[in-house]
Symmetry: C2
Subunit: 393 residues, 2 copies
């Protein structure tokens, strides 16, 4: 782990040796490069804010949440049926019971008598509170209606189940969640089931982490926007990277602020101004193009002159020219990822480096991508030197 | 497969036998119940529309898309380096070459001469078009600069690689995509990489399937909204289901139209009006509560009176009381899922039945959930009769 800290130091003063014709940036293994990115991301401050629960879907919790109540708050019936008082393992089969009242869900049962006479039951519905005189529930399917009055109100029933015990089909107070219990922790993602859990505990607003603002820029004289131009001049190509990376970010987290920084030509003044002004409104800038060994690889030059380049080549295929720098703007730290112009390279490097970086900023515990072992359906001839990254389905 | 068709027929005229005290709805296996839902969903018409590519993320394509162009449109250099004309396996090591010009990306090379003299090269950048006089590329790392003029323009280089062959590091016309090739098919989901692919082919708008409008309603006198009430009266509970199911739908597909149909009390006139008016604006209604064996299970009654109930019980735990009906409104077919009031039951049945149903409406080929085998970390005592559904992480 101490190795790469030295490398970073060396990297911060890159010198281009034009004679040797090879990049002077050492090729960092993917793991080392990612570790640098994650460390740098940790010192960015993004902040938190409080939002209504329904706006918190997919966001990361910035606080521990405790339940202010027991769940359920009252002993509740788990079935439609009858509630009664039994001693342990009472024989009930074939016995007759008088139905004294019906308890619907939502009823306040505190006004009901403290005791219920032997041989009497309340009819009770799922979710309704168990009167304090009762301690068990028999579901309707295990009973027979014996008698009812002219309006159809039940008078008496018999029970078909051999014996019933105390607490059967009763949800006890606090059996799901106890008052004061931590129900969700800082750093957890709020998904649909968490929304349900919080709502059932009466929580209607939560503190979440802000999301970073991320800019996406394509560079290159030859790159054209298909929504502006329907046909290309010789040598030109349609821009794939900017719409693709913006879509990838939106797909990853729809709450991110994503800024379209346009297609910028390979002219140093124009390009440098575009990058400068992008950083007025973004925390992270992703560019594509201009980082290879070419004469107009101005993006890398801007990074060297205006920030601290942490690495300029990565031992991977595709994506070798990926360059990562940090810079300061008005006392605030900003990150810049310069990805190669090839769409596959740009996509792979953005997925492998930018997404884990965003996860750190969002307050996630596990920022790195999960690793899944898979079996290839066909063999692949691998690059002898660089680990390869392929799309798998 | 013919079995359940008969069952559907029987189910369409359900009779509640109050004496037997058990539901008269047969308990359908999950697979059979799901098959009914998917069949019914197939006859709902949702329609298509054309949107800008950046609005199509996550949507389902309603048309086959063909590329209008070859990709690349011109032979392009894959490296920064030099292009030249070679005969097969030409020995190049140590040979000296004169640099005649530099070809940047985006340049129109049609004005360059048809032939290049032996011993001459163009300097060329990644993505730049190969002049028609050349047929191969040598990357800059495999060359040495021998001579340059006062302004730094290169005059001559030597090549360090032993032999090079025709087409090396050249992306040939149409090698990625051929003109007229189907690049995406109807029913495919447009994700970030598809956005990149379509954009690089110059496609800026696409025809997608409409998304259905889905309403979510909680029922029950005891159910209260935590954003309206911070404390509960005895017997009351906070609503978990409606915010949870709405979040689940949004999480599943943010393009769905999701309608909050509120919390409705167990009073037949109020409830029936609420369901009726919900169907004015939704294709699918999901309710929770009111489908068990209780006295106020009015949701099931509304379905029986106003639609065709396809099943009223499912052999599963939790979720047994799940009820599914179809109905007609102004000549348009609508679907209704009445889930149990318990949050876990409501969630499980919505995930297992409603999501695959939505996938059918979105034009997906594989509507069913993928099945993944998993190893339990602890043993579970299973229900002897009903297959159980548990949350796994």
């Amino acid at each position: 782990k101490s190795d790469w800290k030295v490398i970073v130091l060396v990297l911060s003063r890159p010198v281009k040796d034009m004679e040797s014709r090879a990049s002077t940036y050492p090729m960092l293994p993917v793991d080392e490069a990612l570790e640098i990115v994650l460390q740098e991301a940790k010192s960015l401050t993004i902040g938190t804010r409080t939002v209504a629960l329904h706006e918190a879907l997919g966001r990361t919790l910035a606080e521990d949440l405790l339940s202010a109540l027991d769940l359920p708050q009252f002993p509740a019936s788990m079935k439609d049926g009858y509630c009664l008082k039994v001693d342990e393992l009472e024989k009930t089969e074939g016995k007759t019971y008088n139905v004294v009242d019906t308890v619907l869900a939502g009823r306040d049962v505190s006004d009901l008598p403290e005791t219920i006479p032997v041989g009497h039951v309340y009819k009770i519905m799922t979710g309704a509170p168990i009167p304090k005189s009762c301690n068990t529930v028999v579901m309707v399917e295990n009973t027979t209606l014996l008698d009812s009055d002219a309006e159809g109100n039940e008078i008496s029933i018999s029970i078909q189940t051999p014996e019933i015990h105390e607490g059967r089909d009763v949800r006890q107070v606090g059996s799901d969640i106890k008052e004061g219990e931590v129900i969700l922790k800082r750093g957890e993602t709020i998904r649909a089931t968490e929304v349900g859990l919080l709502s059932s505990c009466g929580i209607s607003s939560v503190q979440i982490f802000h999301t970073p603002a991320i800019g996406v820029m394509s560079t290159g004289d030859e790159v054209k926007d298909p929504s502006n131009t329907s046909s290309l001049l010789p040598g030109q190509i349609f821009d794939a990277n900017r719409p693709m990376l913006m879509a990838m970010l939106r797909q990853f987290d729809s709450a991110l602020t994503i800024k379209d920084c346009g297609i910028v030509e390979d002219e140093s003044k124009v390009l440098f101004n575009a990058i400068q002004s992008a950083f007025d409104s973004v925390d992270i800038l992703i560019t594509s193009g201009g980082v290879s060994m070419g004469e107009v690889d101005l993006v890398k030059k801007w990074m060297e002159d205006n920030g601290k380049v942490h690495f300029g080549r990565v031992l991977m295929k595709p994506g070798k020219p990926l360059t990562f720098a940090t810079l300061e703007r008005d006392g605030k730290k900003k990150l810049m990822f310069a990805t190669p112009g090839n769409p596959v390279s740009s996509y792979v490097t953005s997925v492998l480096f930018v997404l884990p970086c965003i996860r750190v900023l969002l307050g996630k515990e596990n920022a790195k991508h999960p690793v899944v072992e898979a079996k290839l359906k066909h063999s692949i001839r691998l690059d002898p030197q660089r680990p390869e990254y392929h799309r798998a389905t």
